[in-house]
Symmetry: C2
């Protein structure tokens, strides 16, 4: 196939053309473009005028390619390890890996610091390790607040840009946050709940996590969820169920006891991906009448979505969060592109009718 119609006759103006017109070298033009010192005011003005006139747009690809010759940039990534119990974290990791492959050719090295979500000490240990390694930039999942703040302080002192992912810590200085607005995520869940609520029915709010009181993500969602009902309804039709035992046996026992008492429950909202445990219980007890709302695009959750035990999954593109987190650091450090301070991830609603088209 002959794609070549003609040689490019109107190449977009580049550094070369600007240099030609300004009667200077390309190096000088480059200095002006990047506001680097060592150019006389006069030449600078002249060159800037030409840049304006030509509406010069730098070729991003060429820039990146040129930068490939620079030295190594080391990035650190702090995130929960993937276990059977916390399959969720596979997705951000995939996004991180994807970004790594993409930017490896440009001299970026990435080191993972994994911790066990259930053991605060493992988090602390990895934070300490990061302080020893002193990478050039870090991507942090701030599961435990205290140590996270400590790490952020260290970063500020050492001028290491830090990106927060998945949940934010208010009032802390960081390059940016990438993740959902947790309050709105819970608020949305409440809105869906309200649409599905039939007259006289009650709603059960379920937290299943080893750590609840310190879990920023869960607390934020619950807050949003409750705010909705406070706003829209005079009496809150809510029943609460918390458990720090995350195994099926404990959860099912708790559910059985509660639902025996509370007969009017028509909807169950689970504040994280452990919704699968409730779905399992619904299946075993044969209750298809209850609407179940939960979190995250995990294969086990999708299975129950298909079977009809889970009705809505709220998903926040975990893979994209990881990908974008790494890329933000890369662009900031290597390309000097400013970061968006709060990059709020879409809050998506997934049902059995649209899950096949969802993209993490």
């Amino acid at each position: 196939m002959n794609l070549v119609r003609q040689k490019k006759d109107h190449p977009l103006a580049g550094v070369k053309e600007i240099a030609r017109r300004a009667n200077v070298s390309r190096g000088t033009v480059d200095r002006v473009i990047h506001n680097r010192p060592g150019v006389s005011e006069e030449t600078k003005r002249h060159i800037n005028a030409i840049i304006e006139e030509l509406d010069y747009q730098p070729n991003v690809l060429a820039r990146r390619l040129a930068l490939a010759s620079r030295g190594t940039v080391r990035l650190g990534v702090l995130l929960p390890s993937v276990s059977e119990e916390t399959e969720y974290w596979k997705a951000p990791l995939e996004g991180i890996d994807k970004a790594e492959t993409e930017i490896k050719p440009y001299g970026v090295e990435l080191k993972h610091y994994f911790f066990d979500q259930n053991v605060q000490a493992t988090f602390a240990r990895q934070v300490a390790q990061i302080m020893v390694d002193q990478p050039d930039g870090v991507l942090i999942t701030p599961t435990f607040e205290e140590e996270s703040i400590q790490l952020l302080g260290f970063c500020r002192e050492k001028q290491i840009p830090a990106v927060l992912m998945n949940s934010d810590i208010p009032g802390q200085q960081r390059l940016c946050y990438i993740g959902p607005e947790l309050f709105d995520s819970g608020y949305l869940a409440a809105q869906l709940t309200d649409y599905c609520l039939k007259p006289g029915q009650k709603v059960m709010v379920v937290n299943i996590a080893r750590e609840i009181e310190n879990n920023v993500a869960i607390l934020g969602k619950v807050e949003g969820f409750l705010a909705y009902f406070r706003e829209k309804r005079s009496e809150e039709p809510l029943v609460h169920f918390h458990t720090t035992d995350t195994d099926y046996v404990s959860v099912s026992a708790g559910l059985s006891a509660l639902l025996a008492r509370e007969k009017e429950i028509g909807i169950i909202f689970v504040t994280n991906s452990r919704v699968v445990l409730v779905a399992e219980w619904l299946e075993k007890t044969g209750r298809k009448d209850i609407v179940l709302i939960g979190y995250d695009f995990l294969s086990s959750n999708i299975d129950y979505l298909k079977k009809g035990y889970i009705d809505f999954l709220i998903c926040e593109k975990p893979q994209e969060q990881g990908y974008r987190g790494v890329m933000t650091l890369f662009r900031h450090l290597v390309m000097s592109v400013p970061a968006i301070e709060d990059y709020l991830i879409p809050i998506d609603i997934v049902t059995s009718a649209n899950y096949r088209f969802y993209r993490n």
Copy 2:
């Protein structure tokens, strides 16, 4: 800030390294990589072995940059013109423009062929013009089936790759389709409807379009919507309302008449972005009790979402559709990257609680 820790010591293996190991020139390696003729079987095998061994990953940026020296590639884009009435098409156009800016530096020229959605003749005229211009690739919104098939036939004959966008035409040969699965889109709307339906209520299905019987998009969604109720309910609680008058006066008159008769209607489903007209009517008649479901992330629709007259908007990332359509052609023609035959766009649910985070 000192980013440069060390000069790259482990550069990823590239063409140069492969050439060195194979004792050939970089040109020969390039020929093997791209399966171009003119290399002896033996060297080919040898080079391929080394490629395997090093797990060589080509540097996409460098490749694109090198290709910038090639001649011009001309792309044609056939899509509805943006008018006040059809603001929807602004979004795909934005995506197309974004792609154009991105690939312009690589010798791509893009020509728009706009037509009036309401006038089939304008579509036919632009199809004829494309046949005269014979671009190297086309992106088509196949609003009118007959002329679209004609154009696709022409493309096949002339070996011009064609990408379909927004709606598909079954059984036609094309490079790929980029858009939603329309049936599932309607099915999802029905599912939401069903969740919101209170006992005894009926649902009104509304089509507002100059052309309904020939409108592939509307027909597909309606089919999915009806299929759901046929599947899940013994009696269909549906009332239909079609109008080819798309002004507010006609629509409101029709609605008023119908709702005076049908008192049990609790939910209205509008099959396209004209849902705004129904929202306006609900506002003017002060009916906040009816749940309204419609399509597309338009500013006027979002206004009514905020005010509470529209409850759900189904959105299918129109901007991404345009962007991806152009990029698919680009990658196919310039980078020889194979296209995905059916790129099905996510079907998103937008409410007043998550619209602020939505990304087209």
